[in-house]
């Protein structure tokens, strides 16, 4: 390569680094500093102009010309940057020319639908003075059945298909064992909710799962009545499903409560007219409830004449399915992010 070309290349490199520095200057002060660095009396470009003298005479005009051109380009760049920096934001040339380009994004995340529903329910009960108690998933037969007034070899045990570890140890079929365990350790008054996973030995289908979340409530004091139960349950249902929900109690049987009730709420979809969701009855079964059976108090060491109490229990999966119109319980454990992510948004969802 000719010497002349080498010089030209050096000038180009200089322009290149200078223009990058100009574009990168963030305010007028730093821009001025860059101007001085390249175009000042002792600046880089000025220095190269002086070095022309050492070149052979025939080469001087060409190189001189190139340097002057470079100088003009840089002055223009500086002028432009100056305008740009002193201009207000809206007048600024939009980088890189298209406002509709997407912004930077990362992965978005969120809570699992079951846990956000559970969280909402916990909040409602926390506001009513319930505290949270938890128990173990692997439980003794004694706490899961016997102490809850399910006698051994009794047909009431057929109500819940059970996974066994051995004849004394099982996977809890409901959160109710915590009732007795909690009462054994605490004196009344007791006002707790018990969230947790429960297990049933049932083949999965759209409405059955071998494991699901449940929440239990227990309130024991000197004069707790069925009327108190109706109050708390109605408050919860209206807080969660809406103020216009009606609630009805139907007599039912659970070994560990008496009187026992199944709690229905008016169908939010058809408002009582009858539709697919409520199986044309206008009512949707929401939870089981009742007054704590005296035998359960006896097992827990409470005097059934001194205290009364109520208990209720609901399936969180079922409630989430109802609220969001989800038709297959198995979706919850599949964890397909295309499903889960639909429930991360704060917008109202439902039927």
């Amino acid at each position: 390569m000719a010497e002349e070309d080498l010089d030209r290349q050096a000038i180009e490199d200089l322009v290149e680094s200078a223009s990058r520095a100009i574009a990168g200057s963030e305010n007028l002060d730093s821009l001025e500093a860059e101007r001085i660095r390249y175009l000042g009396r002792k600046g880089e470009l000025t220095k190269s102009l002086r070095s022309i003298k050492s070149l052979p005479a025939e080469k001087r005009p060409a190189v001189g010309n190139a340097i002057n051109q470079a100088k003009e380009r840089l002055e223009a760049l500086i002028e432009e940057r100056k305008t740009s920096l002193s201009a207000s934001f809206v007048e600024e040339e939009p980088y890189p020319g298209d406002f509709t380009l997407p912004g930077r994004s990362g992965f978005s995340g969120g809570r699992h639908i079951l846990h956000s529903v559970m969280g909402e329910i916990k909040e409602i009960f926390a506001g009513m003075g319930y505290s949270i108690a938890e128990g173990s998933d692997v439980e003794l037969d004694y706490y899961n059945f016997e102490a809850l007034n399910f006698p051994p070899d009794h047909p009431s045990r057929d109500l819940q298909d059970t996974f066994y570890i051995n004849k004394d140890i099982l996977l809890r079929t409901h959160t109710s064992p915590v009732q007795v365990r909690y009462m054994e350790k605490h004196k009344p008054p007791v006002r707790i909710i018990v969230p947790g996973k429960v297990y049933r030995n049932e083949s999965p289908d759209p409405s059955h799962s071998a494991e699901f979340l449940q929440m239990e409530g227990l309130y024991v004091d000197e004069n707790v009545s069925l009327a108190d139960l109706r109050n708390d349950v109605t408050y919860f249902i209206r807080s969660f499903f809406g103020q216009d929900a009606s609630v009805r109690f139907r007599p039912h049987f659970f070994p560990f409560t008496e009187p026992s009730a199944e709690v229905d709420m008016s169908c939010f979809s058809c408002r009582g007219e009858g539709c697919q969701i409520c199986q044309k009855t206008g009512w949707i079964e929401i939870m089981g409830a009742g007054m704590v059976h005296p035998n359960v108090f006896r097992y827990a060491g409470y005097d059934p004449d001194a205290y009364t109490g109520f208990a209720f229990g609901m399936g969180i999966d079922r409630i989430a399915m109802l609220k969001y119109g989800i038709d297959d319980i198995r979706r919850f454990l599949t964890n397909d992010l295309r499903f889960l992510s639909q429930f991360w948004s704060e917008r109202e969802m439902g039927e």
């Binding site: 930077r104 990362g106 992965f107 995340g109 969120g110 699992h112 079951l114 846990h115 969280g119 916990k122 003075g129 505290s131 949270i132 173990s136 692997v138 003794l140 070899d153 009794h154 047909p155 009431s156 057929d158 109500l159 996974f163 066994y164 570890i165 140890i169 996977l171 008054p189 006002r191 030995n201 083949s203 071998a210 309130y219 004091d221 000197e222 004069n223 707790v224 009545s225 069925l226 009327a227 108190d228 109706r230 109050n231 109605t234 009805r248 109690f249 139907r250 007599p251 039912h252 049987f253 009187p259 026992s260 009730a261 005296p294 004449d305 454990l333 964890n335 397909d336 992010l337 889960l340």
Partner: protein, 799 residues
């Protein structure tokens, strides 16, 4: 339990519409799951008389019938049945008629011959199972008369959920009794055939616990024949197949009164005797279903002098079955110990209408009455000569004693939140047929034998609540709620941790508590690892779900695989859940430990125009872990980090506090990932929530200094054995006024010596009391540098 409305109407008047009745019963505690009308599903079926039958000219199996249906001209109908003959009355579907299922009848041609209608079979009209031939009508009508009401069934079936505490509702009479109480209506009493109890039949009961009562009646001159149509119709309506008069009557009384009966061919009983006893080991019995059953001493049997003839309370034996040749019948009506029946049913895997009721403990007071009812029906039907006496052996007389339960009005009101008087309560219970003596405050209630479920006061309170109406109980509360407890600290923190990770872009997942027994090995866990031995489920749904998880990792890897397969480029997920570590000491219950697992897999961000695509790496994971620990009160720099092993292309570290593990994290090896069919790199961390709770330090806030910061950049060269943590810890310990220390460059190799590393730090110093002089800062740095050189052989690069 399926009940027929027409059958119920035999005992109580029910003018209500079936839907109204269903609603009222549901609100009374008898949940009606379905209301199924049996109304005729056909129209346009008329009486026809067959005048003539000739062969079809073109088809061997078809005939041409001439049928009078009241029209001017008889109809020509092609028919395929072999039992059609001149003179009989038949149901004819004429042009325009509709058969069950919506099938419309039109004039047509069959193999060239005109057919102007159709002669129907029972099956085609959906009123019976018989499809072999056409239905021959056993009554007379004018040709052309509409048969809808004569052939159809106007009955309605109610499917009622009967809970295990109420065996008394497992019969039409039992349900009718509830309806009578519900609507305050009288109950019809059945016609009975009075039987004396002095029959000398040789009957014995080995153990009164096993069989508190056994009643037997005897029928002579038995004539086995079909049962009357009215009975067949009711039985069919509730799904019982009619067989013959003897069997049908026992089924009818079972469905009517809920008492299971069994008819033995009396002449087949050895020595004309019966003993109720436990089976002997090695005894056998061929039951009515033809199965040969091996018995043992846990199984109660009915035996004759020689051997078992029936499984008590479950099923009779083939040998003593009533047949066409039977002339003498012994009718059994007994009561057995429910637990024995249940165990035998489970052991033999044989559930019957009888066992279902005996398991739930029926009514010991009804055995003889059921026989008297059966005898009356058999006599009416002319099926034989019952009586005149029966054998009624009450082995446990205590069971027949009258029981009294006391109900206190105050307790009833306290539990229900009502204000009812003792006499109000007494009149409620009277509707259920419970006699009582009421005083001001309490009522002594006599409990009928069919209500075994009522044994204490609260049982009566439930009955009064039901009769009074749950919906009548108001909302006025007597208890003032005076329990206000703080929310559990743990619950709040766990919720915050999850919300934090969610806002960091992690998706929360909830996976199964079960895992495959091969998972620990698949994860490469060593034999001694506490996660390698999992608790087994005795009766799992499937082998791949047969143990309880000891780690959240297998579940998460399955989620990763499924989501990467559905074209997700990369993902961050977490789960907060329990793992179950087997433990011998706690009655066999495992240690249930709460863990937080976070997993990063694939691309570090969705593909986009501004950023270069990059895979997640170890430091993405570590940054998230450090951020989380810091936010929840643990200084990650204060934890000891140990390598916990490496596998092919994978590595795991453990974070310890006071020697106890708090977290584990690293890269899943390619080998392990491939066992879960994942190609991408996977990084994870796993925090024990209990350990985190132990490590959390409460801290006080620091005042913010108004004085300027002094910054210094330092480039240090360290040997192989020295870590970033060693250097920063020394600075934090020694340098006064040090506000922060951050690393902004790190490299190895290049101009550095073997094993050497270069760290460039930016140090910020600030004093809360005044502006720091450069001299003071330089002196602090100098002090630390000396220490670094002396203790760690770390030097400034310029040196």
């Amino acid at each position: 339990m399926k009940v027929s409305l027409n059958w119920l109407r035999r005992y109580v008047s029910i003018p209500e519409d079936p839907e109204v009745l269903a609603h009222d019963l549901t609100m009374f505690g008898l949940n009606v799951e379905e209301v199924l009308p049996l109304s005729p599903a056909f129209e346009g079926i008329v009486f026809g008389r067959v005048i003539d039958v000739v062969k079809h000219p073109k088809a061997d199996k078809l005939v041409l019938c001439t049928v009078d249906t009241g029209e001017e001209e008889p109809l020509g109908i092609v028919c395929g049945a072999s039992n059609v003959r001149p003179g009989i009355g038949v149901p004819v579907a004429v042009h325009g008629a509709v058969l069950p299922g919506g099938f419309k009848i039109k004039r047509t041609k069959i193999r060239g011959e005109a057919s102007e209608g159709m002669i129907c079979s029972e099956k085609e009209l959906a009123i019976g199972e018989d499809s072999d031939g056409i239905m021959v009508l056993d009554f007379e009508e004018k040709p052309g008369a509409d048969l809808t009401s004569r052939l159809g069934n106007d009955d309605v079936i109610l499917d009622i959920e009967v809970t295990p505490n109420r065996p008394d509702q497992l019969s039409h009479f039992g349900i009718a009794r509830e309806i009578a109480a519900l609507y305050k209506r009288p109950l019809e009493i059945n016609d009975l055939f009075g039987l004396d109890e002095n029959d000398p039949f040789d009957l014995s009961i080995e153990d009164c616990e096993d069989c508190p009562r056994y009643s037997a009646a005897f029928i002579d001159n038995v004539k086995v024949a079909p049962s009357p149509p009215w009975m067949q119709k009711l039985l069919k309506a509730v799904g019982v197949k009619p067989i013959n008069n003897i069997v049908d009557v026992t089924n009818f009384v079972l469905m009517e009164l809920g008492q299971p009966l069994h008819a033995f061919d009396r002449d087949m009983l050895e020595n004309d005797s019966i003993v109720v006893r436990r089976a002997k080991e090695d005894e056998m019995l061929v039951t009515l279903d033809g199965e040969k059953r091996e018995l043992d001493k846990e199984i109660l049997v009915i035996a004759d002098a020689e051997h078992p003839v029936a499984l008590a309370g479950i099923m009779g034996g083939e040998e003593t079955e009533v047949t066409e040749n039977t002339s003498r019948v012994l009718l059994e009506s007994a009561m057995f110990e429910p637990r024995l029946i249940r165990r035998a049913r489970q052991r033999l895997k044989l559930e019957t209408e009888a066992s279902y009721r005996f398991e739930r403990e029926g009514d010991v007071g009804i055995t003889k009455l059921a026989l008297e009812r059966t005898c009356r029906l058999l006599e009416e039907m002319g099926a034989g000569n019952p009586g005149p006496s029966c054998r009624d052996l009450v082995a446990d007389a205590k069971r027949l004693e009258k029981r009294t339960v006391t109900l206190r009005a105050s307790q009833a009101n306290r539990l229900m939140g009502t204000h009812l008087s003792a006499s109000d309560l007494a009149s409620l219970l009277e509707r259920l047929g419970m006699a009582s003596v009421a005083s001001d405050e309490q009522i002594d209630v006599e409990i009928p034998t069919f209500r075994r479920d009522i044994s204490q006061e609260v049982d009566l309170i439930e009955e009064t609540a039901r009769l009074y109406g749950y919906e009548m109980i108001g909302h006025d509360t007597s208890a003032s709620i005076h329990v206000f407890t703080a929310r559990s600290e743990r619950d709040i923190r766990n919720n915050k941790i999850c919300n934090y990770l969610a806002s960091r872009g992690f998706a929360e997942v909830v996976t199964t508590s079960f895992m495959d027994p091969g998972d620990p090995e698949r994860l490469g866990l060593e034999q001694g690892d506490r996660r390698s031995g999992a608790l087994k489920i005795e009766n799992p749904l499937s082998a791949s779900n047969s143990v309880l998880r000891t780690s959240l990792i297998p579940g998460a890897l399955n989620v990763v695989r499924r989501n990467l397969a559905s074209e997700s480029e990369g993902l961050r997920i977490f789960e907060l859940g329990k793992v179950f570590i087997p433990e011998k000491n706690n009655k066999g219950l495992p240690d249930e430990e709460l863990h937080l697992l976070a997993v990063l897999a694939g691309n570090s961000r969705p593909m986009q125009w501004l950023e270069q695509a990059r895979m997640f790496d170890f430091f993405d994971m570590k940054g998230e872990l450090d951020g989380l620990l810091q936010r929840f009160g643990v200084d990650p720099g204060a934890l000891e980090v140990l390598s916990a092993g490496t596998a092919v292309d994978g590595f795991i570290f453990e974070w310890l506090s006071d020697g106890q593990p708090v977290a584990e994290g690293g890269k899943i090896s390619k080998k392990v990932a491939s066992r879960y069919e994942i190609d991408d790199d996977i990084f994870y961390f796993d925090i024990s929530i209990e350990a985190l709770e132990r490590t959390v330090v409460r801290s006080r806030y620091n005042d913010v200094s108004p004085y300027p910061v002094v910054k210094r950049d330092l480039c240090l060269i360290a040997g192989e054995k020295v870590t970033f943590a060693d250097i920063t810890n020394l600075f934090k310990k020694r340098a006064k006024f040090l506000e922060s220390i951050s690393l902004f460059d790190y490299y190895r190799g290049g101009r550095l010596g073997e094993g050497e590393r270069s760290y460039t730090f930016r140090l910020s110093f600030r004093s809360p009391k005044g502006t720091l002089d450069d001299d003071i800062v330089d002196a602090e740095i100098e002090k630390v540098l000396e220490g670094l050189k002396r203790d760690l052989k770390v030097t400034l690069r310029s040196e």
